[in-house]
């Protein structure tokens, strides 16, 4: 039996996540790993929106913020457990994306970019200014997920870094599996068709507005879950998670790694999360190096890092 590309991607991801800790010189690397996975979850959602459906969003950090603040506020005010708060945040994000998505997904190109940008900025402003609820710009504490205590009761002692590495890794694999399945499903094919051309897709009988909305809602849920995990891991959340720069970061990760490929986008998330840690020694030049990497990738590998490298590799092998 030949493995489908989908399964190969998942297998590669799984092996990388499981094997990586063997090479970790200190516990700090678990933290970086967990951050990479959490960013990669949001980026996987953006692959569905940007890569599959061809729609841009510069406001997805807003949904990250909703997910994060749900985990901070719902357990305190509604008395529900943090696990349900993740679901609540996802539901809120999906609801908001569904309501807002209907009018703004009628827009194209720059106009859609600006509309989503506005949405993200609005959410982050609400989070920063409604201090009586959100604690304002200094942020708010997030209740403990309680998983570490539970594991300790069962006789397993794990550090916070290790726990979140495996937890975020598991969620990422699940998220990537769903996204890869979507790619070959009728919905995925419809999304890719409308990516190519709205008009062509419509003449094929595809309900274009509905499919765009689906992609938008799904990617909002991914972003929300990523925010929830970030908040629960850090035990503290500030409006920065919903900020414009975070949105731009997420889109950059998606585009850098390879916008149409789940594995490529995760690769992009890895590079942009890990590189600043590597570059602390040359801190003054950090932004210059990041900018340079992006310019070079865009010029020489317009499909993104991973797809371009694979194409080159296959081309050589075929000769």
């Amino acid at each position: 039996m030949r493995l489908k590309p989908k399964h190969i991607s998942l297998l590669v991801l799984f092996v990388l996540i499981v094997m990586a800790p063997l090479f970790f010189p200190s516990g700090f690397y678990y933290r970086v790993g967990a951050l990479i996975f959490i960013n990669a979850i949001a980026v996987t959602g953006l692959v569905i929106l940007i890569g599959y459906a061809g729609q841009i969003s510069l406001g997805h950090a807003g949904f990250v913020g909703i997910g994060a603040y749900s985990c901070a506020l719902a357990p305190v005010h509604l008395g529900i457990s943090p696990v349900f708060a993740i679901a609540l945040g996802a539901a809120l994000s999906a609801g908001l994306a569904w309501i807002v998505g209907r009018p703004i997904l009628k827009l194209h190109g720059y106009y859609l970019g600006v509309a989503t940008l506005g949405l993200g900025i609005l959410i982050s402003m609400v989070l920063a200014n409604e201090a009586q609820w959100t604690g304002g710009p200094d942020g708010i504490a997030v209740p403990d997920l309680g998983l570490r205590g539970l594991l300790r009761d069962w006789g397993f002692r794990v550090s916070a870094g290790e726990l979140w590495y495996w937890l975020a890794g598991a969620v990422l694999i699940a998220g990537a599996w769903l996204a890869l399945n979507l790619f070959d499903s009728p919905t995925g094919r419809a999304l890719r068709a409308l990516h190519g051309s709205d008009v062509a897709a419509r003449t094929m009988g595809i309900d274009v507005p509905r499919h765009k909305l689906h992609a938008f809602v799904i990617s909002a849920v991914y972003a929300s879950v990523s925010g929830s995990l970030l908040a629960l891991m850090n035990r503290l959340v500030t409006p920065d998670v919903a900020g414009f720069m975070h949105s731009v970061h997420l889109v950059t990760m998606t585009v850098l790694g390879g916008v149409g490929s789940v594995l490529g986008a995760i690769f992009g998330a890895t590079i942009l999360t890990a590189l600043p840690q590597v570059l602390t020694v040359f801190h003054q030049y950090e932004h210059m190096v990041l900018g340079l990497v992006m310019i070079l990738v865009m010029i020489f590998m317009p499909d993104g890092l991973l797809p371009s490298l694979l194409k080159r590799f296959r081309g050589r092998a075929g000769k």
């Binding site: 516990g27 700090f28 933290r31 200094d138 801190h283």
Partner: protein, 384 residues
């Protein structure tokens, strides 16, 4: 041959790294050198580098050199937490100084408490040390105390109806809350409460609202950065003659320069001895410390000192003092924590620190000096 060379080089590197870790006292720092709080974090980082340079030139402490591992978290709590983890787990530091903003300090203290590493914060928020956490200390006054100091002075001048205009950034929002909370204790009523965003270029509408409030007696502006300077200019443009108070967030020469000396004339601020270094009385206990720091900083970086650099100075001074008293060049973090908590009568630029198991700030209201701007310079207001 090549493999051998690489092997040898790698071994040498590991050897160096190991030596590095043993022969030096490693102190970690995560500050917002860049980003929205860069105006605060930059002098803090410069101060730490300067002090470590000085200490090492003078032969280090306990015969060991100090190595400063400093990261720029850009004021983002998520980054601050990552760097705190890195400092503890990867760099193996004995203590952490940092957290320019209250948000980043809260992120670092979570790591410090979990990993049991002493942490001295340089941010203002009262929630950092209240409730008291075993491994977390801080050097700046709280904004709670700044409000008290201002209201105390207002009470003495017979002011009871105050208009407040605050920034919506972390500093302004937190101080606004604290001031609203303590105003009642001093018989003061906040009759107008206006806000502005950090990037705003004009605060005339908010100030007009405040001016039109009936029975107004004074105006207070909690905020830092360029906002307070714009408020000050607008205040004079509108011809408001009432007493005007700024927060400790403006305590630096740049505020006077930005707002113009004639506009800032008569503005009162709760500040530290650092700003009036030359005009301190000869018998003032802080005089020597303040002048030494001021001269060293100005001499090295050729820019005026700010209160924020002073906070970092005090944090490093407390830490160095504790390491020396503890007497072990490779201190156990728990022993070092005990030594910091035992700090008593240490004179810093901000005030005189005495920690206890119930007080991890170690300053009282007397450390704040009420300053007024006269002819473009800071002058201490004589307390009756």
């Amino acid at each position: 041959m090549k493999t051998k060379t690489i092997l040898a080089a790698t071994l040498a590197m590991f050897g160096l790294a190991a030596m590095d870790a043993n022969a030096q006292i490693r102190i970690g720092a995560s500050l917002a050198e860049t980003g929205p709080a860069g105006a605060l974090g930059d002098p803090e980082a410069k101060t730490l580098r300067l002090m470590v340079e000085q200490i090492n030139q003078d032969g280090g402490i306990l015969g060991e050199q100090i190595q400063l591992v400093l990261y720029d978290d850009g004021g983002d709590p998520n980054n601050a937490r990552t760097f705190a983890t890195r400092l503890v787990e990867h760099d193996g530091v004995v203590a952490i100084i940092g957290g320019t903003t209250t948000g980043t300090s809260m992120a670092i203290l979570a790591v410090a408490e979990e990993e049991e590493i002493p942490f001295i914060s340089v941010a203002g928020g009262i929630e950092i040390i209240d409730p008291v956490r075993p491994f977390t200390f801080k050097t700046p006054h709280t904004d709670h105390m700044a409000c008290q100091k201002i209201f105390e002075d207002m009470q003495e001048r017979g002011i009871s109806r105050v208009g407040m205009i605050s920034g919506t950034d972390g500093f302004g929002a937190s101080m606004r809350n604290q001031c609203l909370g303590v105003a009642g204790d001093f018989g003061i009523e906040i009759v107008a409460d206006e806000r502005y965003a950090p990037g705003d270029a004009d605060m005339v509408p908010q100030l007009t609202n405040i001016r039109n409030t009936a029975g107004l007696e004074a105006v207070l502006n909690p905020g830092f950065g360029s906002g307070p300077a714009i408020v000050t200019r607008n205040y004079r443009q509108l011809g408001i003659e009432l007493p005007f108070y700024q927060s400790h967030g403006v305590a630096g020469q740049s505020y006077i320069d930005l707002s113009g000396a004639e506009n800032a004339e008569g503005v009162r601020v709760p500040g530290t001895a650092l700003l009036v270094a030359d005009r301190l009385a000869d018998d003032d206990p802080q005089r020597d410390v303040v002048i030494a720091y001021r001269d060293a900083y100005v001499g090295r970086f050729n820019e005026p000192v700010s209160t924020f650099g002073g906070y970092a100075h005090d944090a490093m001074a407390i830490l160095v003092d504790a390491i020396i008293r503890n007497g072990d060049p490779n201190p156990d973090p728990r022993d070092l924590r005990d030594a910091i908590e035992a700090t008593s009568g240490l004179v810093g630029t901000t005030g005189t620190y005495t920690f206890s198991d119930s007080d991890h700030l170690g300053l009282d209201l007397s450390a704040f000096r009420l300053l007024e701007i006269r002819d473009g310079i800071w002058v201490e207001v004589e307390q009756p």
